[in-house]
Amino acid sequence: MNSFWPPALASLDDSLTLPCESLGKLNAGLAIDIAEVIEQLNLAAESARTVRELVLSELPEASWQNREELDALVEEIRKTIEVRNLEQRRSRLLALATELQRGSIAHRRALRVNELNQLRDQAINELRSQAGLGGAAQPLPGPEADQWVAWACGLKEPEDSESLQTLRNGFAQLDDFIANLEPDMWTVPDPSLQQQAELEALLKEETEKNLRSRLLALATELERGSIVHHRAFRVTQLNQLREEAINELRSQAEGTGAPQTLPGPEAAQWVGWACGLKEPEDAESLQTLRKGFAHLDDFVANLEPDMWIVPAGPPTSGILPEAERSADNTQQEPSPPETYQEPSPPETNGFEETMVSAGPIPIKLKARKSSKWRRVPQVSHSLDEPSPSAIASDTLTPDYVTPARTEEEVQGTPAQKGALLNGIKGLVTDPVRRLKHAVEPPFNAEAFREASAASASTGHRVESAFTAEIFRETSATPTTTSEIRTRVQELFEGKSRMLLAVAAVLVLTVVGAIMWRSHRNHVRSASVSASERKTPDLTQSNPVQDTSVMSSIMSTDPNSTLPVDKQAKPKDQSAATKPPTPAGPEKPASKPDNAVLQPPLTIAKNAAKTAAASPDSATEAPDSVLGGLPNKGPSSMISSIPAAQPKLAQKVQVSSGVAQGLLVHQVTPRYPAQARQARVQGTVVLQALIGKDGSVRNLHALSGPPMLTQAALDAVKQWRYKPYYLDGQPVEAETQINVKFTP
């Protein structure tokens, strides 16, 4: 019901007047103007329809039968409208009061401003009191609130005397205020500017919220991770720093003020990124970090990337290199939360004892199985050691998985998986089966070590060495693995075959040992091997060692004489490569990373053996050691090992798997939107040179979808590797990097 109501009803009544009169005339038999009556009837019908619509719009459920009921309804509606109008009038008064409150008065004289403000306050109170009256509020002339002051200031006498009189009668204080106010004294904030300010405030709030959640995420990430170091004291120190950093992040996130901006990527990649910051290149980020998060900066400054282990969690981005995904898939058991990793209990087989006592086995104290790390045989580069037994310690290397391989390739087909599991189970009881399954090791360092130990105990050290190579090779070339497995299975099928094979291997081992002995002196003179020199130096320079402490640290060598405090610091890589001197026993005797990155012994030996020879001869040697196993297995792997000429080569080639193991900082490539839209996927193969400092150089694409190439280049460009060490010296390493894009 609205203002159309009274006219519509009046029109109805009016239009019915003539027909009613006409009916009276007709009743008296008098003449009427029938055309006019018809017109009026039409008007009446139209008015009746309007009235009906108005009533139903106000009371949709209304029904009536006659004029009396209609009149009752109209009365009810009228009262409702009256209440509503009263409410509107009150709200109009309140709106004007709010508008008066919003505005501000500007005048050159403060006194005048005060006066006007007082008048304004009185007017506001008057408007509010009028609005709060129980009865009908006084009608306020003029336009809506936002235009009212301007309108009122424009009123003049005598032209607008009626409005002014109404105003004066109903709102004396308001009239007084308006009479004293000049239009140019009145300023009301622009609603759009106010809205913009509100939006900006909202945006700021949202930004702060995001920043807080980011800080909390990083705090959680820091909590999730664990610190690994061979010194408990250092671990404690770092944990304290970490706690302080976490507290700092939390206090920033939960503080009342705006949190400081945290540079860098998301939480999952933040520590890696922060550990990669260098001065002066990243001075800006470091400065920002230092300014806003002093404790966090302190923590990161003390932390080396390889000290930090974070349990595998859900990927934080849509694209992960396959290595990470595979690592997640191959995770066998969760990492314990301890920050300081106790060494694994020493293995009690003689093979390992022989190995540890034979020379300084670099030990990396990451005796944990995480999603990214697994145990692989440590191969000593000392030429004094029997080469097959180099697979000894529990050295951990990154669980490098060639990015280009699929998960099935990494994990094997279901049939392969089953065979591997059975093989692992059988290793405990059946030496033959151990040997048989050693050539297709699961991605499990324990099983692999057991296989190696088993082969060593049965005199199959050559096979053990081969197994270590196979282990790596199978990661890269599953086809070779299956072939080797097939051959080995064929070889060992039946007892006779097995006995024959054992005998053959024994003979070959003896022959190999004799040959190795005969060539040792020649190798010493021909090839200056740092490791060769290091081994006796190390043992001689540390004649008195705390064996009790050492035994608690070294996982595989209970007889080791290296004191704990003289163990290599993981971040001091350069020191680890230098031969220890008597004057500096506190320098690390060896370095875990160094140990990890050492080329396999067989390769070193071959290199030494064939220093002046052609590479082909170096690759052929293992074949003879393998007891007739096909060349495709170890030889292909060995040929790709760059350590064939450790002294001469300044640039070596490493497999993508080895390179993956050196990776310390990885930037996830962005999937190009166009490529995603076009469902372009595939693997981009890149050729890169890992510099001595671990940076990526000479990066170029070898193959892959063009739409994805640039994204891969951009990401890999930012990757950081641990330097590749050859004979204790960092060298440039050329490798292929496979970046897989799956939508």
Binding site: L9, L12, D13, L16, P19, C20, S22, L23, G24, K25, L26, N27, A28, G29, L30, A31, I32, I34, V37, I38, L41, N42, A44, A45, S47, A48, R49, V51, R52, V55, W64, Q65, N66, R67, E69, L70
Partner: protein, 194 residues
């Protein structure tokens, strides 16, 4: 005033009743069929026009402003029409009595002529007595008096039982005279101009 009067006034009243209902619906803002209302209005206007014509035919100088005046006027007209009808009926009875006096009866037997003349005299007396009655006399069926005896002598039972019954009820002597009279016995003297 004619027989159209009652039907006209009834039609007008009925139509106006329907129109009144429609107007009341409109007044209550209810929906009506306007076309139908207009048709009813036209019918009411036609009835009113007919009524007016009837009134003015009876009373050319008549004038009225409302239904009350119309009703008074109609009542007045009705009385006048009734008086006129009684007078016409009386003059008709007297005219028939005069016609019976003018004629003569012819028969081969004097007794029979004498009997029929007595019956004729009784019928004349009866007609004159009826015409003299205060108030409305008995209605006499049949044509005017110069053709009445011929029409009456031709009435047959049971075909003309209604008319015969009316004559018998109102005019018993006249009925007896007509029943004994044969058409060829009745001779009306024609007045020759002098």
């Amino acid at each position: 005033m004619s027989s159209l009067w009652p039907s006209t006034i009834a039609s007008l009243n009925d139509t106006l009743s329907l129109l009144g209902e429609s107007v009341e619906k409109l007044r209550a803002a209810k929906a009506v069929d306007v076309t139908e209302v207009i048709e009813e209005l036209k019918m009411a206007a036609e009835s009113a026009r007919n009524l007016r014509a009837l009134i003015l035919a009876e009373l050319p100088e008549a004038s009225w402003q409302n239904r009350q005046e119309l009703d008074e006027l109609l009542e007045k007209i009705e009385k006048r029409v009734e008086a006129r009808n009684i007078e016409q009926l009386r003059s008709r009875l007297l005219g028939l009595a005069a016609e019976l006096e003018r004629g003569s009866i012819v028969h081969r037997r004097a007794v029979r002529v004498k009997q029929l003349n007595q019956l004729r005299d009784q019928a004349i007396n009866e007609l004159q007595a009826q015409a003299a009655v205060k108030g409305a006399p008995q209605p006499l069926p049949g044509p005017d008096s110069d053709e009445w005896l011929e029409w009456a002598c031709c009435l047959k039972e049971p075909d003309d039982a209604e008319s015969l019954q009316t004559i018998r009820n109102g005019f018993a002597h006249l009925d007896e005279f007509v029943a004994n009279l044969e058409p060829d016995m009745w001779v009306v003297k024609t007045e020759t101009p002098v």
